[in-house]
Assembly symmetry: C2
């Protein structure tokens, strides 16, 4: 197997901790994967990301297909030497980006036809071309191309998308097997907000030789309750010995909820995106650094954090940078937020290992969410998600 | 004295090398001071700036007076702990910024009256308030408030501005002496493009107990020949035992020219500003990284450079970042350019120490300027200077 999942412990709550073995190393789960969309972060150097403890990064196939294109990855020997990252990389397939494209895209059984917004050239993203691009990128974990839909789609429409997702999953596997590269491939469970479709999707996909399974089609407009229910339903149908990845989720609270439901892997742009908007996640709640109260504050963002920003810079200075819209401020808040997510996962893993996740969950949930800040966060998250590329 | 200049050698060309002793350490000259306008760089962390070898940073009094304001510096104990810099800091006085303000400013004998563009509050920047702000910032080297004028101003207007600069210099000294802080104060030689006014200004100022002397009112629209002539004229009248600082200059070639004329200190936004526009200075000439020829180039920006960007990243990757307008690209090019300026000064100092600056000058000038790139540079510089805040 290109990746192997070693389950270390399942907590009484159902939360799991384990080790994901990849060709780039073995990494503990639950894990959070920061998003390096364009083979890079907007503000962070790879050295800084590595220092946060992140081991696996996510990169976006759709964006990298358009720029810099497969020939650049072929020339440089893949994404790792290109962007200077010696950890592991997971690539999404482009399914979510097709879903977000403007109306002039055309999705057929073959794939998604659209025009590049760089040069207006005609492009096809199909199960096969997505795998080919992910092979050029040379990620450790590839994802199948799936059909994403609005969560408000009716059952017939949801079934249609799910069944196409299944046919594309089979084609993705065939494309992968036609050119063995040592990369892993994950299937994606779809089925919208319909529990029996989620069951059916998991049943279909788990019969295929995937290295792991993602839960897709969430974080696209459903309610929190729907998301939690669908996550629980999907993980219940997934095998114990394969990693489970909840795509595109979420806030620290979302992660705590999904871990409770047996999820092992996460990615989300929230920690870096919120940083750019002046928000820092701390173990005392969300901090909006531009608030006047922080102007003369000589304390760190989070006294419980060990990132270099918390060790060296004050809230007062960070406010100065963010009020002045200096990119250095976004960079510093990004470093902190990415480290915070890693620290959160560390605490989660510790809790699960000693069969105490119920307590960890309660303590962390209370610590990170204060009512006022939660309101800020909800508003900012909503703004953020509209902005996802 | 708050700073002391130790002259080590004067080369047959007239180029000088020495040591500037400050309370934050002793630093070799000629030196280039990167510009941290708002108590910070747009993209660079202080650790990165320190790694380039820069020892003294410039910060802008006008900007810092408006935001974050003197009370913040008083609260944090000055600019060094605030921005996390343990080297030395030179603050300009705000004279150049007053000159660049929109028309509704009013400059009287008392000082410059204007409105803050943050909150529209009425402000006065006078010789005394400039010193008070620089004392709050707690820089190692303060500058007197001077009257900057367009270099095309006629002789009568130039004389008027120069004489006010002299009166303000006397008031600045008095303000400094009224509250001893251990900070140094430099006078600024004015006189536009009129050689005898430059003589007169230097003669007046050098009778006063300044710790060093700046040459002001250049890099504001005069020709290269005028700039070189005025620089030479001013340094000829300045004492050997005090440091000479040419304000706001310039490109690598400009620095080579001014060193030839006996200048010891420089500051300029060009290395970071040009980086943001995709330009890298190298010892093989100026590189516009977005040129298609670099797309598949797996070499470093400059094989002669030892910055971490040149050690780790390829031209191909830097192009990818800059074409995508990722701030990480501006950051990486800034790191390189700031290091390049420091390397340039290292080579200049080596040349002067062994009485071989004439050769160093010829070799470096030929190496860093290729005709095609010079054209690019001139165009970019012009665009850049329009944009100075």
């Amino acid at each position: 197997m290109a990746v192997r999942f070693e389950l270390l412990n399942t907590d009484p709550t159902g939360a799991r901790t384990g080790i994901l073995h990849t060709r780039k190393g073995s990494f503990p789960t639950p894990m959070f994967m920061p998003v390096a969309t364009h083979a890079g972060f907007r503000h962070l150097a790879m050295e800084e990301v590595k220092e946060t403890g992140a081991k696996v990064l996510l990169a976006n196939t759709y964006h990298l297909m358009l720029r810099p294109g497969p020939e650049v990855f072929e020339r440089f020997g893949g994404i790792h030497p290109f962007m200077g990252w010696d950890g592991a990389v997971l690539t999404d397939s482009g399914g979510f980006q097709i879903f977000s494209l403007p109306e002039d895209r055309l999705i057929t059984e073959k794939g998604a036809h659209f025009r590049s917004f760089y040069d207006n050239s005609r492009r096809l993203l199909s199960p096969e071309s997505s795998i080919a691009m992910q092979q050029a990128i040379n990620s450790e974990i590839m994802m199948v191309l799936d059909v994403c839909i609005d969560s408000r789609t009716d059952e017939a429409g949801t079934r249609e998308a799910m069944e196409r997702t299944h046919r594309w999953a089979v084609r993705s596997l065939a494309a992968k097997e036609a050119k063995p590269t040592g990369q892993a491939l994950f299937g994606i469970v779809q089925g919208g907000v319909h529990p029996h479709l989620r069951d059916e999707s998991a049943a279909f996909l788990t019969k295929l030789p995937f290295d792991g399974f993602a839960i897709g089609g969430l974080a696209v407009g459903e309610t929190k309750v729907e998301r939690d229910t669908m996550t629980e339903r999907a993980t219940a149908s997934l095998p114990q010995d394969k990693p489970r990845y909840l795509m595109g989720v979420g806030t620290p609270t979302d992660l705590l909820e999904a871990v409770l439901r047996g999820v092992d892997m996460f990615d989300c742009i929230i920690p870096t995106k919120m940083a750019q908007q002046g928000y820092a996640y701390t173990f005392q709640g969300l901090v909006r650094i531009t608030r006047t109260v922080y102007q003369l504050d000589d304390g760190p963002l989070d006294p419980e954090c060990d990132c270099y920003v918390c060790k060296k810079y004050t809230r007062g200075y960070l406010q100065h940078l963010m009020r002045g819209k200096h990119h250095l401020g976004s960079r510093f808040l990004s470093v902190h937020n990415v480290r915070h997510y890693q620290r959160l996962m560390e605490r989660v893993r510790e809790g699960i290992l000693r069969n105490g996740y119920a307590q960890t969950y309660r303590e962390l949930k209370a610590a990170i969410a204060t009512p006022k800040d939660l309101k800020d966060e909800a508003a900012a998250s909503a703004a953020t998600l509209k902005d996802v590329g």
